[in-house]
Symmetry: C2
Subunit: 182 residues, 2 copies
Amino acid sequence: MSRRYELRFSGAGGQGLITAGIILAEAAAIIENQYAVQSQSYGPEARGGASKSEVIVSDGPIDYPKATLVDACLALTQEAADKYSDTIKSGGLLLVDEDFVKAPPQGDFKVVRLPIINTAKNDLGRAIVANVVALGAMVALTGVVRRESGEEAVLRKVPAAFAELNKKAYNAGYDRVKALLG
Amino acid sequence: MSRRYELRFSGAGGQGLITAGIILAEAAAIIENQYAVQSQSYGPEARGGASKSEVIVSDGPIDYPKATLVDACLALTQEAADKYSDTIKSGGLLLVDEDFVKAPPQGDFKVVRLPIINTAKNDLGRAIVANVVALGAMVALTGVVRRESGEEAVLRKVPAAFAELNKKAYNAGYDRVKALLG
């Protein structure tokens, strides 16, 4: 039976969550030769302010590509954290932005708090790379791809003029997790 | 039983096929209140030169989100046309770029030929909007969303500086299909 790992990136529209999902899927599949499916589902629940994208990574073909219970969930907003935390697997992981998710939901999962958006804004000078900071953090937390695979996938995706900024953003997220968890 | 319509956008990496899929899904779900799932699957077969993205649109919840046989398929390259034409439903539709798919595959589906990339390049001056020309053409061919919903979704997605270019690209694709099919 193949190993299968499911992740969700959630927050608000415009935060680049689909892009983060695509980059992770490409890191897993194109760079590491794993299998991956990246998707967004839109229904009545998606028409509020919350936005999400999902990635499934597996070492074998993915027959049922719908993420149901995820191993790891990112939430950049309180609304997204409240909406999606009940679909985290028992023993799973919830990464929240500590400034924007003031009351992380409780459950049978580990909560990790990081100042994701403020790292992008204050350390990197561009709030728009918060999604890449979050991606680096999720890679460090889950190990679903290697550090360098995620970085390479980031650099393949962004325009050359923004390569350095995004590389720094990715590594800032990665390093903050490593510093936090030791 | 709900109506379900599946589309594939295929071609080469860098042609904006994922973006076209996302825009269509958002037109269906966010603007028209349909249900939609947009996805890309990456496996060994995706590591060649071909790239694809898929959209499922339904009037009800989508339980099984994997596109299997599609109702309509876009192919911007010969390789993509050859690779994906055998997953078009009987009686379905294959839209090909007439300059880059010189030998459209034959099967139990209708083939429509349009100069998609050259319309973007010559009429609009920017090959990069070929994906939006293709989107307009697919909307005109399938009717899966209304013309104005697709246009609105395009305009929501692109930066303001490129709004007019993309609006023209979308409508060029739409109008070319209408002129061809009468």
